[in-house]
Symmetry: C2
Subunit: 404 residues, 2 copies
């Protein structure tokens, strides 16, 4: 089977490498050999073996009837979206690692694939090589999923792990991550949680069967987490993780990306460094977790190539995927129930009494600093915010959601 | 789509429950409603709703052309094997949670399914509800798998967790596990590692594509592990887990079930209580882990029903599965390389010198008992056994493989 690859960046190169390196086992699994016939890229790569496969005009790929699968590894919404629509409409399966494309147009492209009896596959768009999209679609089919919570961004997890283990501050570790190539020069997409937000939008759309817009998901990053927060976490037997979550609560769906204090005994607590972990809860299976490298050239290529194999095996058959274009109205974020860990500067003697009066019975946390720290009871975000507003005059060092 | 269920024991009841409870979402995923038409059982269940579905004669099921899928939850090799062959030969897909049946006849039944353009599916036979068979077959297809290591038995993991956390001895915790229903009255299949052995035989056959006989896999249980071993483990930053493993080493395949000391930072170290964890290493993806409840009525039923959905979706198409009938010759177990943690009773003053002379430079472990404890260098099982034989005259308290 002949395929075309769009984009010869890091992931694209990985795809070519994997297809060459594991040629025989891939042919066995796909039922036939897989061969890259074209690579679309604006560059020439004249000095390299792959240079002879380079084309500049997407129409060459589109109009070649031999090409049955198009694999996209360019990133960005355009021209990926246009190419995806054109490929699927021409009866070619389309495989992508592009979380932006999938988060925005997944429902539409799945429908287009179905109408053309081909497949739109995107295992690599979430969790890199970790099998999560296919298990959600094909393994957890007996279950009604009511929660997915994951560490979906390797860069921020690396930063939080280093901050915890080495007692260092955010900016300091971010610089190291940038030097190591784990974080971009402009790290915003990672550290502000935008990357995780797109990924959890994809997962929730698949889990609940209707479209979740990533723009609707309240998203907080890790830039405000300090080494002092880490020290508190340790003291109360917790770790701080950037969790992306979607949950069914009282019949409505709620999603969020935010740093959260979780107990050290939670399976996600041991997901460290650049690893990702995705925790899924279903009404039959209970809890399952998927763990592995969430990014990187080869892990991502592994998922792209597995999708290519799947598309080859399912030639002429659309693999059912439930993700309608109908949009899910997410629960009002102010009505979501939460508990917070709060740190106040101890600038007034009466602080404990004030906290008690506003928050009622809270759980006090011993502070190694000149602070008063406590954990609230469960209440809505709105109720919490209202109480916090009454702390005017006090200096709030930080407030972090806690689940334990 | 009409299906038949063989056996209304714990798992069988779970299957009926799940199909009723999640009827709508299952119908969506399968593309059509799934209905249990017959249940084969020797009992009557006259007082129950399901009583009307009971049949005593398998031929009623076999000869009913409406039945397209047969789900088996009886356990044991016979008559499950006969029913599986008959069903597949008649063009009915066969779904099972029966690890014994799959470990013995997986290759043959997969071939039979292929020849009849139906499917033989067995997700529930390993890891209960954890998706592992389908990910191996369909997600990790770009990879050459070179290792699978897992905690595959919930009962022994519960016992080891309790021994560690509560400083109790094996027999003591076993009694509690029996009282709680986690361990059988005759606990041999679990505590001697036989259950894990069958499961790792299935995983290795799928990963390496040829048949691994479970009878060939060297298997040790956990009956010799003591609370003193647990104390040592803690001291050197390790935990003791019953690990089932298969690995490609220098071109040959090696498998084993045994208790092993692993570092606390290993992802499998946090798999506690009755949970299972399966660690897979591939040449592209790196490491991935699957975690969840490895047994129990509903988790197991979740996997059985997911297989039923998959069989319904793939009506008329055999899902390629690579597990040939050709048998793999496993590596000679004496030639496998290992490190051991060894505890000797300190009954002679010169013990340190003797150990040094026999084992060379070892890593000494501080002992809180009247013992001399150390960790060997990496060598073959044969070399280690030869050295141990030279310790005649000393009392060996225990020796446990260590990987860290």
């Amino acid at each position: 089977m002949k395929i075309a690859l769009l984009g010869l960046g890091t992931v694209g190169r990985g795809v070519v490498e994997v297809i060459n390196e594991n040629k025989d086992s891939i042919a066995k699994r796909a039922g036939q050999p897989i061969e890259v016939k074209y690579i679309l890229d604006i560059r020439d790569f004249e000095d390299e073996e792959v240079g002879r496969l380079i084309v500049k005009d997407f129409n060459i790929i589109l109009n070649d009837e031999e090409i049955e699968i198009v694999a996209e590894a360019m990133g960005g919404v355009e021209p990926a979206y246009t190419y995806a629509k054109a490929s699927l409409s021409k009866g070619k399966s389309f495989v992508t690692s592009n979380k932006e494309l999938v988060a925005l147009y997944g429902a539409e492209l799945l429908e287009l694939a179905k109408n053309n009896e081909v497949n739109f596959l995107f295992e690599a768009s979430v969790g890199g090589g970790i099998p999560i999209i296919r298990p959600l679609n094909q393994s957890l089919t007996a279950d009604e999923i009511y929660e997915i919570t994951g560490i979906l961004n390797g860069t921020t997890n690396f930063i939080l792990t280093k901050m915890k283990e080495e007692g260092r501050n955010f900016e300091d570790v971010l610089k190291e991550a940038q030097a190591l190539g784990y974080a971009e020069k402009n790290p915003e997409a990672d550290v502000e949680g935008y990357d995780a937000c797109r990924k959890v939008a994809i997962l929730s759309s698949l889990a609940f069967g209707e479209h979740v817009s990533y723009q609707d998901i309240p998203t907080e990053g890790i830039t405000k987490i300090t080494k002092e927060d880490m020290a508190y976490a340790e003291q109360i037997g917790c770790v701080i993780k950037l969790l992306a979550t979607c949950q069914k609560q009282d019949g409505t769906i709620f999603a969020r990306v935010a740093p959260v204090l979780i107990s050290k005994s939670h399976p996600l607590a041991m997901v460290n460094d650049v690893f990702n972990g995705i925790f899924v809860k279903g009404n039959v299976i209970g809890e399952v977790m998927f763990y592995g490298r969430g990014a990187g050239k080869l892990p991502t290529a592994s998922a792209v190539v597995a999708d290519i194999v799947d598309a080859a095996k399912h030639k002429g058959t659309n693999i059912i995927s439930l993700w309608n274009r109908e949009k899910i109205e997410l629960k009002d974020k102010d009505q979501v129930k939460v508990r917070y860990f709060v740190r106040l500067q101890k600038d007034e003697a009466c602080i404990e009494n004030v906290v008690k009066e506003i928050f009622g019975d809270t759980e006090e946390v011993q502070s190694p600093y000149n602070e008063y720290a406590f954990i609230t009871n469960i209440e809505t975000e709105e109720q919490f915010a209202e109480k916090v507003s009454r702390l005017a005059g006090f200096t709030i060092m930080n407030k972090i959601r806690i689940e334990k």
